[in-house]
Symmetry: C2
Subunit: 691 residues, 2 copies
Amino acid sequence: MRRLLPFLLLSALAALPAHADEGMWPLNAAPKDRLRERYGFTPDDAWLTHVRSSAARLTVGCSGSFVSPTGLILTNHHCAHRCIQQLSTAERDYIARGFYAAAPADEQRCPDFEIEQLTDIRDVTPRLSAATAKATDERQHHAAEKAEVARIEKECVGKDAETVRCEVVPLYHGGAFHLYRYRLYSDVRLVFAPEYSVAFFGGNPDDFSFPRYSLDFTFLRAYHHGRPAQLLPEQYFKWSPSGPSAGELTFVAGQPGSTARELTVSELEYLRDITLPNRLILIAELRGLVTEFQHRSAEARRVSGDLMFGLDGAYKGTVARYETLTDPRFFATKVAEENALRQKVAHDPALAAKYGGAWDAIERAQLARRRLRKLFSYAESDNSQSRLLRFGRMIMRAADERTRPDGERLAEYRDAKLSSLEQEVVSAIPIDDDLEVLFITNALTRMRADLGLDHPFVRKVLGRESPEELATRLVKGSKLKDAAVRRTLWQGGRNAVRASEDPILRFVRLADEDARAVRKQYEDEVEAVVQRNSELLAKARFAVLGTSTYPDATFTLRLSYGPVAGWEENGRQIPPFTYVGGLYERATGRDPYALPESWLKARERLDPKLPFNFAGAHDIINGNSGSPVINRNAEIVGVLFDGNMQMIGGDYGFDGTTSRSVAVHSGLILEALAKVYSATRLVDELRPPAR
Amino acid sequence: MRRLLPFLLLSALAALPAHADEGMWPLNAAPKDRLRERYGFTPDDAWLTHVRSSAARLTVGCSGSFVSPTGLILTNHHCAHRCIQQLSTAERDYIARGFYAAAPADEQRCPDFEIEQLTDIRDVTPRLSAATAKATDERQHHAAEKAEVARIEKECVGKDAETVRCEVVPLYHGGAFHLYRYRLYSDVRLVFAPEYSVAFFGGNPDDFSFPRYSLDFTFLRAYHHGRPAQLLPEQYFKWSPSGPSAGELTFVAGQPGSTARELTVSELEYLRDITLPNRLILIAELRGLVTEFQHRSAEARRVSGDLMFGLDGAYKGTVARYETLTDPRFFATKVAEENALRQKVAHDPALAAKYGGAWDAIERAQLARRRLRKLFSYAESDNSQSRLLRFGRMIMRAADERTRPDGERLAEYRDAKLSSLEQEVVSAIPIDDDLEVLFITNALTRMRADLGLDHPFVRKVLGRESPEELATRLVKGSKLKDAAVRRTLWQGGRNAVRASEDPILRFVRLADEDARAVRKQYEDEVEAVVQRNSELLAKARFAVLGTSTYPDATFTLRLSYGPVAGWEENGRQIPPFTYVGGLYERATGRDPYALPESWLKARERLDPKLPFNFAGAHDIINGNSGSPVINRNAEIVGVLFDGNMQMIGGDYGFDGTTSRSVAVHSGLILEALAKVYSATRLVDELRPPAR
């Protein structure tokens, strides 16, 4: 790492940010110059308006796009999963068997599904600056800002609340504020979904990897007043039946959720040395426990199936982040970028006075974080996976907090949050005794090992029992497994909770004083310091770089670009396309490599050389699922549904040499609709008329 | 880390090494000046000779000391554990019940136990330089060196092979060679051992921690020609009944095994970012699996008990090393030390030409290591814990390798190693089917996740089976569980092995070509490069620093020093002593906090304020177990048996602010012998005559 630093420092100073094809660009700040210089392509305003209007945001947390004049929407199967599940019944399992509305009337409305189409972006920074100009302290500033944002959004919506949504988006961590105006569709219907087994072919083992063979797409349709939305030609993308070629410039117009590319080096070190490895160790041990737990019985396997799936996914995502931060080349880039910005700030006395101390303040907060983390972790941030401990604590704390004025409560117990907490606590979620004992025993054993038997907190909560004895006593003796008991305690408030002899409640109360004390320390010495100084750094960055760079992701529309391309991994070249033939070779008939009947039957009708999935050098992140991949003509060449492991590390910074998006090929979708599913109506809607 | 660097760089340049009380000093290079300056104590030659002659080395891998004129030896219970176990029978379980030879004739000889007493150290560097002066290449150099070492050792032993042992010790990684001459005692007898439950009180949870309450001592006796050894007053330590006081300067005269304090920063980064976290993750998952496996049945608990104990210990040791390397202050010190040495080398053209490139070469080798590590880990360095895979592979490889000339074989299959390999393979070690399936399934699942389903090696060894299917088929179908079958195959050699249809043998053969290929790459691109350049760096270090610093540990006698002292941990002050009263408070009656009958009965006879264990700021490492802790008068004040977590990180460098040794108090030993065990004969032998 140290050897690379001087070289990278120079290049970082020369051009900040340094990477080709990096960036999630707002549509009103598209990198026209970079595109022209690198690809000889300059998007004009009509092109950008077309892209902006044809992209869609799914409020469920995904991206999508309009692909026909009658409101057809392309997104991922996993983005529509909840809708498909909600529409399913025991007799009609659309998850297992797929869904196709052969006639328009068969399209079924998704409960709680909303889709937004971006119609305008406006800079409202001056209005907010004016509104907050007279504030004399932080509290006044925030109040004034909040009020002005509400005014702007209200004016923007006007009288069209049913079809218009407006949102003031803070960009560059508050360096600028832009008003995003959307056309809202709240009647969204399911049109087509393939079977889960082919949509999520490869399951967890293939997730975040490539080569890949997942048919992860779904079609929805936007309705207005009970009829399909009518769109102008610049409000939807046309379909490319041939898809992209290797090396071709393509664009992703999606809604990346959030990135943390502006963390300081000391924060990244903390993540690299403490947070991520400790999370991996924790997940690994839990995974070992649950894997073997599943051998106890069929029931044990049933109650822990979802959990295992979640642990596997969390493990993969964390490994990816960890590998990014322990890549010496990557880390050296972050160090170089920070040093470059520090130098620019240091050389400008005005900037230095305002922002120069922020990095060191954040570094000192990381030392406090190290000091507090073990007690904080065991006393306050329950990571046991035990539902009983979680519920017990929520009941106990809510009862106490509700006796305080709203403004003085712990943040998660303010009035605005209480009803969703109550919903969780009183829900009829099943609780398995054996799994509870396992998790609590594990958490207590870890606590004893990490803090030591002689730590006052350990002595207090463990007493003279062994972890397993204590866990067994708590679980066997608690009535909190019963949702009705939880409801009674929640409603009974402080007196009911204090009067209860439930061992779980007594246990969480025993820990509460220390837990609150260490939380207070953590908030004061770590969180407040980091927040205050991160805001300063965002301002410093904006002062130096302005809009020559892109803001961190905010789940708003962004344009990324790059070629269709594989990458080199450990000396092996990964090609950018997979093909139908490879799908059939990979299918072993065993989950998660088992194909549905429809695909087994269609094998002879499909060309094995037809591209299936493809990889692209796009800068994307969670939230980009369902994004359209388009070519220079703004035609759909694929639907993005995943990225490789290196993409996940994009949380911290983009590495264009290895980070890749993964998409379903547009030609494959047409072929599958035609030859596997006989979805003629959809094929006709998508296929451009013969010339 | 970066903030601290400039300051530390300066201090490192000023005085290298920088830490007070750091160092494991050879007895002929004691740090007299440092001791005088810091403690006003200057050991004279008589003192040093006394210490050298009274310290003992246990060839089992421990330290000890002579403590009476008739050859009584003080060491740890855990150092004599094997002897105590070997002398036990079903009727007389000395591990559980302890051992005391009430009369001289009751002392029992330990099988295979040897004790060495250092009688002389001589510098033989000039002889070796002369012997290797004419060598023109590396091979000649090594051959000449090896021959001269053998000559020196043979001359040194002379005709007294029965009672003299000589060893040429390379110090400073070959910067100097010293001849160590020992008086050898090969008749060693057990005199006294407490019960295991009090000797290892606190078990794994308390291991590497403090406060501590372990009675980890044992007495042995050296015999010569069937009679107790007769020692001069300068050949044994006298006993201090009062022990040390807080803050008192004390010395540890022991045999630290090995340290790696001269690793480069790039090697430490590799350890920090790759080796240690991955080991922790692996152990954590195995620990989870085995913890839950133990719930399957009493038999499952029995067959996996040792394994669980080993995993817990390995986990703790690895955590300690990891915490050391992720401590920003510690790492900054290593960076500063390396930079200081690099600068000194860079400023001397002769040194720069010879050694200047070594750091970068080692750093490049770390990049190769990163590239190769995953395949190397799964194909070549079996970390599955499966005994069947291990045996299968040894049988298959030994059969192939034995057909080659000795010099061309893989190192572990040379003739000199074959018989111990054979012993392991044909031993009647029990193999549990369920545990084997569990371990192989886990290893295959990890491999598939880490390398990806599309890696050619994964495709080859996994085929179309799921990890669990393959593991079950291998284990259920293999006959290698039978030691007789293993013996037949081993003796049958290549033809027998090739003819075998055993699924385990077929599986390991399938992987063998790739395994050998990646091993070859690893040896060439990583190991050879690191070894060659580490030797250069050792020479550079010796050229710059000479003997002003101490050499890495070599399991030879070293003197460490420092005060009896606690430390501050996370804002909590850990006091240096524990007391008898605390032992009884800690005893819950549950393993590992259950006291033996003898201690429960003696409670009323013991002063609760009597010190039990104490901590000292000594620079120690594995191998120091059993070391005498002595005061300025060279009196025994304790016997060292452990260190805290920070001590383990001493592998990489000493941090005098937190690293601590842990010892049993000399006064407690006398009291226990007198009041718990009524071991009058021993008390009389140890207690100094009343004045």
